[in-house]
């Protein structure tokens, strides 16, 4: 079970989702609702880790590679970038 959980865990990675804010459907009052709806369309359980509005328009979340790929193909999604680990110099 532990191995299975670990394997399951490993399937999930953090992604940074860049949204085309200007393409938010009129049916949404607030872009956060749109973000949440987009996320829920690929995963019932995924939560937003951060939302961004200055540096980018979007959010970060944990997804499987398949979910990330599905999300990226949706309208209004500019890119779904895998999280990078940066090093101190």
């Amino acid at each position: 079970a532990a191995v299975e959980k670990n394997t399951e865990e490993q399937r999930w990675s953090t992604y940074i989702v860049h949204m085309a804010k200007s393409e938010m459907p009129a049916s949404f009052e607030h872009h956060l609702h749109w973000y949440d709806s987009s996320l829920k369309s690929v995963s019932d359980s995924a939560e937003m880790i951060y939302t961004y509005d200055n540096v980018i328009h979007g959010f970060s979340t944990r997804l499987t590679a398949e979910q990330a790929q599905t999300l990226e193909s949706q309208a209004g999604i500019l890119s779904v970038l895998p999280e990078l680990k940066y090093e101190l110099h």
Binding site: I16, A20, N54, V55, I56, E83, L84, L88, H89
Partner: protein, 655 residues
């Protein structure tokens, strides 16, 4: 820091750096491992109220409360959700889930950029002096994004998001990762947004030198900072039984060696392990090294860990020798046992003595701190090098600044070596890296910003670049540690920073967000890529012919097609300079090391009647003869009014 203020000339011209409010209204944001608020470098004596522009906060967490902030340290935040999402909840018995710095790196960089004056600062007596940041009156806001397990981009973006909201003026980021295209690099994306808000961003160039194409943080809206040496050293000689002496460096402080020659052994001979020469954990048999001095090779594990391994094995001292990867670069460490670091050449001679003498002996003589070392600055071997692997036509790094053996503030939770067994606690530590040169430029940018509050980040960067120097006082070119020969603009960009000159640069190459968008249009970015980068919909004008050669960068990088056939390559670059000094006439001068490219400038003189007046000029590069593939050649273009020199390096590449 001690010594760098004098080395940079900051002590000679205090009146040039206004102590007025403008200097204390500049806010430097530092994304790093947090801060040790008790450090004297963050004392706020003499500072007025927190600037009214400030919107940030002092967050509470493990061993950190709002009372840890003051009028110097005006903001402290931490970002760990991305880190915890990947590695699980932070174990607060191991690291502080708060802005508190458990590592030392963040305290070091923050105090370098804007630390208050601290008298009698030193590391165990080394580098003793008056420590101060570059911008002693600037305010500091820290954003902890680096943890034991690393610095995660979702946390970095969240911190940049907040730093923009909080209204920092300068962002200092001594971190990097990967070399992906700008629209896929979250630091570059965040930096674009910050630049649009008028924030100056300086980043470390990376420590992957001396290989070429080894830079991090190459985006043109980021100031990319390489590392050079100071005129200070910490000599510790190796004295061999055959009477020969070899210079090395060390920050060891403690019980010195017995005043006699000691048995000397090469780790590679004492160990049975395949890489026994590296003094890695578990590879040194005590019966072979106890009571002796051990020669270890650099590589794989950290230098200080090698010292720990040698000490644990019962040896009395260590000589650490460079390999080809580091050449003659000597970085000093506060080892736990008497130890010194020697260059590759010395190491080879010492080894041949070890292998030939039946009873080799040695000792180490410590000489403390020496200043006035020449030549200096020298480009650090580890400093990452150009060309720019993403956009060849943008010359990077931009500039170099002191980054070798830099003393600055340190955390109270970790010893000077960073080793868990190092129970010493110090207020200041000496470490090296482009992590150290970056905050120097961040602090100097804050000084320029204080003197010229209305200048854009691009104008500030231009002033720092066009006034940088590329030759020593004797006219010789700056050297490169890794070759012992003259360095090139791919090593030092526009040269070594000269803050006093940067305050009065004469002309600046300014850039707006629109110019950067035209730049990415010239790179043929698609609309989604531009939207990812710029965070808004933007479509390049199909009727316009965008070209990187029109991008108003303060340096030049010209790319020719090698063997370009009979048609000689002719490339025209356009530049626009803004007069930020007194009215005057600037005349251009050109110098080139290779006649293979003819350079002409039109017009050859620019006459400015008023401040903020803009004039354009065109440089035509005509390839007279093609050089072989991957050749490089360099030239220099300088506008001068007889008092101020506005210098730009020109790099030619044949691809």
């Amino acid at each position: 820091t001690t010594r760098t203020p004098e080395f940079l000339g900051l002590d000679k011209s205090p009146d040039m750096f206004p102590d007025s409010n403008s200097a204390s209204d500049v806010i430097v944001g530092v994304l790093d491992t947090g801060i040790w608020p008790e450090s004297k470098s963050f004392d706020d004596t003499g500072l007025g109220p927190v600037p009214s522009s400030w919107k940030g906060e002092c967050e509470t967490g493990t061993n950190f409360t709002t009372s840890n902030c003051n009028r110097k340290l005006i903001g402290a935040r931490f970002f760990s959700k991305g880190y915890e999402a990947t590695l699980g909840p932070i174990d607060t018995s191991k690291e502080s889930k708060s802005p508190r710095d458990d590592d030392g790196h963040g305290t070091h960089t923050a105090s370098t950029a804007a630390g208050s004056v601290v008298d009698q600062a030193s590391l165990l007596g080394y580098a003793l002096g008056k420590a101060r940041g570059m911008a002693t009156r600037a305010r500091i806001a820290v954003y902890k994004v680096c943890w034991i397990g690393g610095c995660f981009s979702s946390d970095i973006l969240a911190a940049m998001e907040k730093a923009i909201e909080d209204n920092v003026n300068v962002l200092s980021m001594s971190l990097g990762g990967g070399m992906s295209d700008y629209f896929r690099d979250n630091v570059a994306i965040g930096a674009f947004a910050a630049m649009e808000k008028g924030i100056f961003i300086s980043c470390s160039a990376g420590n992957a030198g001396p290989s070429s194409y080894s830079l991090s943080n190459q985006a043109p809206w980021i100031t990319t900072v390489g590392a050079g040496t100071l005129d200070r050293d910490f000599p510790a000689f190796v004295s061999l039984g055959n009477g020969k002496n070899f210079s090395g460096v060390s920050l060891f402080r403690g019980n010195s060696l017995p005043g006699k020659l000691l048995p000397f052994v090469y780790a590679g001979n004492a160990s049975n392990a395949t890489n026994g020469n590296l003094c890695m954990i578990g590879t040194l048999p005590p019966d072979k090294v106890a009571g002796k001095i051990v020669l270890c090779d650099r590589g794989v594990n950290s230098r200080v860990q090698k010292g720990e391994v040698v000490k644990e094995a019962g040896a009395l001292g260590m000589v650490l020798t460079n390999t080809a990867a580091n050449g003659e670069e000597l970085v000093a460490d506060a080892h736990l046992l008497p130890a010194t670091a020697v260059g590759e050449k010395s190491g080879d001679i010492i080894k041949s003595y070890l292998f030939s003498d039946p009873n080799p002996t040695a000792t180490i003589l410590f000489e403390g701190t020496k200043v006035g070392i020449q030549p200096s600055p020298v480009v650090a071997a580890f400093s990452s090098r150009g060309p720019n692997s993403i956009t060849l036509e943008i010359l990077k790094p931009d500039i170099i600044a002191p980054g070798v053996n830099i003393l600055a503030g340190w955390s109270g939770n970790v010893g000077p070596t960073g080793l868990s067994i190092d129970s010493r606690r110090v207020s200041f530590n000496i470490i090296s890296g482009t992590s150290m040169s970056c905050p120097h430029v961040s602090g100097l940018a804050a000084l320029v910003k204080a003197a010229h509050p209305d200048w854009s980040p691009a104008a500030i960067r231009s002033a720092l670049m066009t006034t940088a120097y590329t030759v020593y006082k004797n006219g010789q070119k700056l050297q490169d540690t890794s070759t012992g020969k003259p360095a090139t603009p791919f090593d030092y960009g526009s040269g070594h920073v000269d803050p006093v000159a940067a305050l009065d640069p004469g002309l600046v190459y300014d850039l707006t967000a629109a110019d950067y968008l035209s730049f990415v249009c010239a790179l043929n970015y698609t609309s989604p890529q531009i939207s990812s980068l710029a965070g808004r919909k933007f479509t390049c004008d199909a009727s316009k012919k965008y070209s990187v050669t029109d991008f108003n960068y303060p340096s030049f990088s010209v790319v020719f097609t090698s063997g370009g056939g009979s048609k000689s390559n002719v490339v025209k670059y356009t530049r626009t300079v803004t007069n930020v000094g007194s009215p005057g006439t600037y005349k251009v001068s050109l110098s080139s090391e290779n006649p293979s490219v003819k350079i002409s400038v039109e017009p050859a003189s620019l006459n400015f009647a008023a401040i903020n007046e803009k004039k354009s000029y065109t440089v035509t590069f005509t390839e007279v003869s093609s050089l072989p593939l991957n050749s490089n050649s360099f030239a220099r273009l300088v506008w001068s009014d007889g008092k101020r020199n506005v210098g730009s390096p020109i790099a030619f590449s044949w691809n």
